[in-house]
């Protein structure tokens, strides 16, 4: 058993203190990073609760349930920031990346503490696959929101569509890595490959953001 709340406090306090010394973009990113970690903890609570009440078999919750809960939780702060503060596109992207990075970092911290960090290749795979996957999902969400806002169709249908897209991506990754063998290698490569595919148009049209 690990004490996830204590780990969160330990990581978040220095970041929160640093907020007083930071300005503009850096402040936004660090705030989002901390929010991402809190969201990760809340998602774990919700997944655990649903897993317990629905009496799923071992491992089923991680494969089927967590993508839906985690992506639903990640969209909440992004949507709140978008609708309440109406930020510029670049700030929305920055905020979303912060949420994804914070989420992935906290998840990795808890995972390493519970499973050990003695195998470097495994840790590298964990960092490159899960870490990148959460960022890809939130960037995908943010890009979809930016597009919907740009074309003035920021509707429930559009947002739900973007959310479902990130959920299916996350669910596919979880399903592929749930079994050992070739499927897990494909699963580990999926986030990196998607990140590269997304980076090409992103870098090209960076000025538009």
């Amino acid at each position: 058993m690990i004490y996830a709340e204590n780990i969160l406090i330990c990581i978040a306090v220095p970041l929160i203190v640093s907020l007083f010394f930071l300005t503009k973009s850096a402040k936004r990113f660090v705030s989002a990073f901390v929010i991402g970690m809190v969201i990760c903890l809340i998602s774990a609570y919700i997944s655990g609760f649903i897993d317990y009440t629905s009496k799923m078999q071992e491992g089923e919750a991680a494969v089927y349930l967590s993508p839906i809960v985690e992506e639903s939780m990640k969209i909440v702060p992004v949507l709140f920031y978008l609708l309440i503060f109406a930020p510029k596109n670049s700030y929305l992207l920055l905020f979303s990346i912060g949420i994804g990075a914070g989420f992935a970092t906290f998840e990795n911290c808890c995972y390493i503490l519970s499973s050990g960090a003695d195998k470097l290749p495994f840790i590298l795979i964990r960092g490159l696959a899960v870490g990148v996957m959460h960022i890809v999902c939130t960037v995908m969400l943010a890009l979809a929101m930016i597009l919907l806002r740009k074309f003035k169709v920021l509707s429930v249908a559009g947002v739900a569509g973007a959310l479902s897209l990130s959920m299916i991506f996350h669910a596919l990754y979880n399903l592929l890595v749930s079994e050992s063998g070739i499927s897990s290698y494909i699963g580990y490569a999926l986030p990196l490959l998607s990140a590269v595919i997304m980076l090409i148009p992103y870098k090209k049209h960076l000025k538009d953001f």
């Binding site: 089927y64 597009l147 249908a157 569509g161 973007a162 897209l165 299916i168 596919l172 499927s183």
Partner: protein, 263 residues
């Protein structure tokens, strides 16, 4: 039959990959970036949904799936497609009574049947809501474009009524007569998909804009409702026709967004 299903699925995945590559190329050349990019997003969702299903089939075949994530991909597709076509809607136009009634009654009836068949309340309701979104937006646009004449509405309503009725009867009673009625309901769906595909192609050949795109969406919608209610070989046939409708959607969008002088 499982092998035929898998072959069908793999063919659809390959076709969707081609459509994605072609849509990315279209982004550079086309005028209506909004339509193309949302269509691209929706096709990516469709592809992810298919890939999920294929991965599940390979890795956990026969296992119970507590939450069908592949249906989330389908929901994403319906919602993104509905957002894409919403640009055709006239915001000042009143909501059509026929569109609202038909979409809500038909989707609720279908959702009720899915719940009876699968017993999965949550995912069937979520899927039903997203299909309602697409169907109602589509019918509203058709009304605004004056595509739905009185006799078309009557034929549509009667066909939908009989399909639902025959499917409901076959759920509770099993006799040769009911079996024939069930087959008639599949025939209606099959005829509707083929009819819309043929009509869309004929309009495309006449270089008409917008109509072929809307007709290809009609074929796709009929195919989706058909897939959800059909078993065995009928499922395979309607699944293949839905893939054709997907390709047709891309071809009609291409016509929609490319400048006239290039065509």
């Amino acid at each position: 039959m499982a092998l035929l299903d898998s072959i069908n699925l793999v063919i659809q995945i390959v076709l969707l990959m081609f459509v994605i590559v072609a849509s990315v190329r279209l982004l550079k050349r086309g005028n209506n970036i909004f339509l193309t990019i949302l269509f691209l997003f929706s096709i990516v969702s469709w592809l992810l949904s298919d890939l999920y299903w294929l991965a599940f089939d390979v890795l956990r075949s026969g296992e119970h799936m507590p939450l069908a994530a592949n249906e989330l991909g389908e929901c994403a597709m319906f919602l993104l497609l509905s957002t894409a076509i919403s640009k055709y809607k006239d915001k000042e136009e009143q909501i059509s009574v026929f569109a609202a009634c038909f979409a809500s009654i038909f989707t609720v009836a279908n959702t009720a049947l899915w719940i009876i068949w699968s017993g999965e309340w949550l995912q069937d309701i979520v899927c039903g809501i997203s299909l309602f979104g697409l169907l109602s937006t589509f019918l509203q646009i058709c009304e605004e474009k004056k595509m739905l004449k009185a006799y078309v509405k009557v034929v549509m309503s009667l066909s939908a009524f009989f399909v639902i009725l025959f499917q409901a009867l076959s759920t509770y009673w099993h006799s040769i007569f009911i079996r024939i009625l069930e087959d008639i309901s599949y025939l209606i769906i099959f005829a509707a998909v083929v009819f819309f595909i043929v009509l869309a192609v004929s309009y495309m050949r006449r270089k008409v804009k917008t109509k072929p795109f809307l007709l290809s969406i009609a074929a796709f919608l009929c195919g989706v409702f058909g897939i959800y209610m059909s078993p065995g070989i009928v499922y395979c046939v309607i699944f293949a026709l839905t893939s054709v409708a997907g390709i047709l959607m891309f071809l009609t969008i291409r016509r929609e967004v490319l400048p006239d002088d290039i065509r």
